[in-house]
């Protein structure tokens, strides 16, 4: 547990450190807002409404394939840790797992889901 105290303290410190100059900057720094300055930067043209740009599904698919590999990691890292003591059967079981997921990659590739258009 004590090892996580360190991490908690480090993260809190890391959060507070940059927060101080930002707060100081907003409080002490120059503050002369005007309409032009505070407008959104769009190369001089005024923004209309929200930024409602429609996004392509492509972004979703990349995140999706990533998610699948992320889950793979949950199962494979314990396997990798135990790897040195596993019999051949155990190693093959892990390899089968990887290959099943590689099929997912092959499918996405073949379907053209990995092309950036």
């Amino acid at each position: 547990m004590s090892e996580w105290t360190f991490i908690a303290l480090l993260l809190v410190t890391a959060f507070i450190f940059p927060a101080i100059p930002i707060v100081a900057g907003t409080l002490l720094g120059p503050r002369k807002p005007n309409e032009m300055k505070n407008s959104t930067y769009e190369c001089g043209v005024e923004t209309v409404g929200d930024t409602w740009v429609q996004f392509k599904v492509q972004y979703y698919i990349f995140a999706l394939v990533f998610l699948v590999f992320d889950i793979e990691l949950i199962f494979l890292y314990p396997w990798a840790v135990a790897y040195n003591q596993l019999p051949l059967f155990g190693i093959v079981a892990g390899v089968v797992f990887i290959i099943t997921l590689a099929e997912a990659l092959v499918y996405a590739w073949r379907k053209g889901a990995l092309e950036w258009l």
Binding site: V57, Y60, L64, L67, V68, I71, I74, F75
Partner: protein
């Protein structure tokens, strides 16, 4: 020392929040987020039981790991469905998705 009941109470509260979200929100994405909360409440329960009742056995731990995998699969398919419905019907409000066929 934090005893088992505190973890279970947190999980119970989170679960009911999730139930409320599922029942009360209109947006399908928000409903999915609430489902995600419920799943996590259950998972917290599992891990707490594992830690307090059978820390030397792997069963509870493994169960939690598999819940992760299922939750991820659920989120992926659920969000894909929402995107698909949005493209076909231009809506993500749950009460407007009431036709079985279109």
């Amino acid at each position: 020392m934090v005893t088992l009941e505190f973890y279970l109470i947190v999980a119970a509260i989170l679960f009911s929040i999730g139930v409320y979200g599922v029942l009360a929100r209109r947006n399908a994405v928000a409903i999915l987020m609430s489902v995600e909360l419920m799943l996590n409440a259950v998972n917290l329960n599992l891990v707490a039981f594992w830690r307090f009742l059978a820390p030397t056995e792997l069963n509870g731990f493994v169960f939690a790991v598999f819940v992760f995998a299922v939750a991820a699969a659920e989120a992926a398919v659920g969000l894909a469905l929402i995107i698909s419905i949005y493209r076909n019907r231009q809506t993500v409000l749950a009460e407007q998705i009431n036709m079985l066929k279109w």
